[in-house]
């Protein structure tokens, strides 16, 4: 992805004469290797090598974006020509493929995964995806920035055998590739395949819930991070923050959105506008904090480094990355005792929020019922739902003393645009959430 940087800089400066104007060229090479695994046997191999370049100009609220396939200098020039509305030749600018090849990474996983699966979850239908992105961004009056990221994502079904018969359980695990993730993956597989009692259906109504094992990160991703994305609709959370500066939840609760956590799936060193990210305090001592912003929405304080693109063909949006919740001091035993009667949930499968109304929903596959401070029945799939402000007000001022990475949280879709995200959270006790069974 080599460019004539000096020539590009001159051109971008001419496109953005005002100090608030934005002009940039973004180029991406994405390599994705995907292999299906069924009961230990690999198959259905897919490899996709994609390159794309987009030029953008934003001035006085008007934005234009032009995208062409390919990368390199020719593609950058073609994108700029398209941005200026000049005619272009039909042939897309191509470039020699990268010399770095994905199969080396794939080979490592082909050696590692069968042993892990055979030992801990021999019956499964999973898909392994290895993603490598290389990005280059040139902006007017800024140096050219390059970044690269490697991610691994495993999703599908693990079959758990027990005396009562087989049970298919959804499985997902997302992590940056290259780190020490084998132990975390092993633990996730063991947990997914562990025999459990037959679940009983959850009874609809209100219940107290402990979101354990990092799953509270999904709740905060939905009810804090999304409403605080700078381009989000006005929500009860932001309305409350502008009406009063007082705490809206327990003062022990500190929640940040931190892209700098490169050990998490949503981390990065530079955002897709070339900005070095900073952690945004979403909730500080129980008070609503700052907004997640990009260059367009940053205003006087500037971008928080959250300008993210779902693809080179899409414009950047202010989007959440890694939701990180500070740990407290309570042990699991203390939390179970505090919970008294309610549900203990180790894993949230998916979540959604409607910022305008504040309504959110979290789906879980399994839970454990707690009665009089002791674990009792296994509970089947269901949904937790509620309103964001009410849920924040009902958080108990006791947080688990260890923050757990939520490796099941990996992809976030907003308006159809999908980005890697993740989070880390201690065990959190929330009173009075609504629950109902998934039928």
């Amino acid at each position: 992805m080599e460019w004539d940087d000096a020539a590009l800089a001159r051109e971008l400066e001419s496109l953005a004469p005002g100090s608030d104007d934005v002009a940039d060229v973004f180029s991406e090479r994405l390599t994705e290797i995907s292999i299906a695994w069924r009961d230990g046997s690999p198959g259905d191999p897919r490899v996709c090598v994609e390159t794309g370049t987009a030029a953008r100009r934003r001035a006085r609220g008007d934005e234009r974006l032009a995208f062409v396939a390919g990368s390199g200098d020719a593609a950058a020039r073609a994108a700029l020509r398209a941005l200026r509305g000049e005619p272009s030749d039909d042939a897309p600018p191509a470039e020699a493929p990268s010399t770095e090849r994905g199969p080396a990474e794939a080979a490592r996983w082909m050696r590692r995964l069968p042993a892990l699966l055979a030992r801990h979850a021999p019956r499964h239908r999973l898909r392994l995806r290895l993603l490598r992105t290389e990005r280059r961004i040139a902006s007017a009056r800024r140096p050219v920035v390059e970044s690269a990221r490697r991610l691994v994502s495993i999703e599908g079904i693990v079959v758990s055998a027990s005396r009562l018969g087989d049970e298919e359980r959804p499985f997902s695990f997302h992590a940056p590739d290259g780190g020490e993730i084998a132990d975390a993956l092993k633990a996730a597989l063991v947990e997914a395949a562990a025999p459990r009692d037959r679940p009983i259906p959850v009874v609809a109504g209100e219940t107290d819930v402990v979101l354990a094992n990092g799953s509270a990160a999904v709740l905060f991703h939905e009810i804090l991070a999304h409403p605080l994305e700078a381009d989000a609709e006005r929500s009860p959370l932001t309305a409350s923050a502008s009406a009063s500066a007082g705490p809206i939840t327990v003062t022990d609760l500190d929640v940040r959105d931190d892209p700098r956590r490169l050990d998490l799936f949503g981390g990065y060193e530079r955002d897709d506008e070339g900005i070095a990210p900073r952690a945004v305090k979403l909730l500080l001592s129980g008070r609503v904090g700052a907004r997640i912003s990009d260059r367009s929405s940053g205003g006087r304080t500037g971008s928080s480094g959250h300008g993210r693109r779902a693809a080179a063909s899409e414009p950047p949006q202010p989007r959440s990355s890694n939701v990180v919740v500070a740990a407290g001091s309570a042990t699991s035993e203390e939390l179970v005792r505090r919970l008294g009667d309610g549900l203990w949930i180790d894993e949230i499968q998916s979540g959604s929020v409607e910022p305008a109304s504040g309504a959110f929903r979290l789906a879980f596959h399994r839970a454990r019922r707690v009665r009089r401070g002791r674990f009792t029945d296994e509970i089947g799939p269901g949904f937790l739902h509620g309103e964001m402000l009410a849920a924040l007000r009902r958080i108990e001022p006791v947080l688990g003393r260890e923050a757990h990475v939520c490796r099941t949280l990996g992809w976030c879709a907003r308006d159809g645009l999908v980005l890697p995200v993740q989070g880390e959270a201690p065990d959190v006790l929330v009173r009075g959430l609504s629950v109902r069974p998934a039928r």
Binding site: S41, E63, R64, L65, A69, P97, A356
Partner: protein, 424 residues
Amino acid sequence: MRFEDVAALLERRAAGRWELYRKSARTRERDGGRGLSRITHRAEEGWAARWWDGSPAGMWFAAGSDAGGLAAAMDDAARLPAAEEPPPDWPKNPARKAAPPEPAEAADADPPDLAPALSEALAAAGSERIALGSLSLRAGEARERVANAAGLDAAQTLFAFDGVASAIARRGGSARAARAAFRWDPAAPDVDGLARRLAEAASLPLSDRASPFRTGQWLLSPPVAAAVLAAVSPAFCGERGPSWLAREEAASRAVRIVDDASPESAFDGEGVPSRRMLLVEAGEVVARLFDLRTGRAAGRRSTGHGVRPSFRVPPRCGARRIFLEASEPAAAATLAASVRRGLEARALTAPVRVDLAADRYEVEFTGVSIVAGREQGPLGGARASGRISELLRRIQAAGSDLAFFPLPFPAGSPTLLIERTSFD
């Protein structure tokens, strides 16, 4: 590298057992709302190849945004293991060539700025304070070419005019947002119809009123009925559907279920000609949908239902333009007037959930309650759930107002009247 060069590369790699696909799309998009005005021009390329190799044979798939990327991806994919799978029966060039489509000039122009007109229509359509959230309009054309080792070389041009809009309704301290995906006619965009749909979807949930009935008749407006059909459509794909679909009376005789993509495209993602497939008639399943791979597994020919949601993934069997057709269409107003006691679903408040194997569905919606053919008032939210098989069998009547919606593939339905459903 040209298309023919890549085809030659594939022939050397897997003689007689390959397929090559290319899509070139040019789109223009206008985004507005929430203080944003953006024009996006995209010139996208997508190449995909799959080939069968080895003995016993396995299938490999590679994709790239240009021929060079595809070639690199093919090299990389070839080093990975593939599970055993026999190659399909390749389609050959169709005897009848598809007529080239009329050039759509509107695909070469920026979409119009409909935001002011839609804002005005929203204000006129709802009694609540309703504001336009965002509006995105897209216009464009895509050229597809598919070739295979059996000599097929087919090309077509497709035009797309679609969009997504959102609106926010407020009453007191409450607010609700609604989003609608739609297709638009560049000659006469239906702004008022879109405004009505958005206004209902955003303002009806502001009502505190819950469902007054636990069971009753259920009137589904076309967008809701189409979403239910789209969710159920995988049941018609491949050799064997769920057992509940194999019964003699699998559905009501009041409707036919059809898949017919021929008005929009000449062939599917594997180069097999599109055709009208009558899936359910007189209550019985009379045909099933196949792509090349599921057809091969079932010992059948492809029905032209190899869909490619993206060049990045191999084609798979799926509905392409499925719809419900009334056997004896009635006016939608007549259907509403015939409701003795029930609910009308006008918009979804959550995606339709189905479990095809377990024969279960769950639809969350907003709408109005009806008694003796008269609207009783808005309904904040309700949930209908039960067996899919019963839902299909209990279709009492269907309207004459068939409409299509991008879900994301086109799915259509008229207004449907279900004789009995459980609500909560």
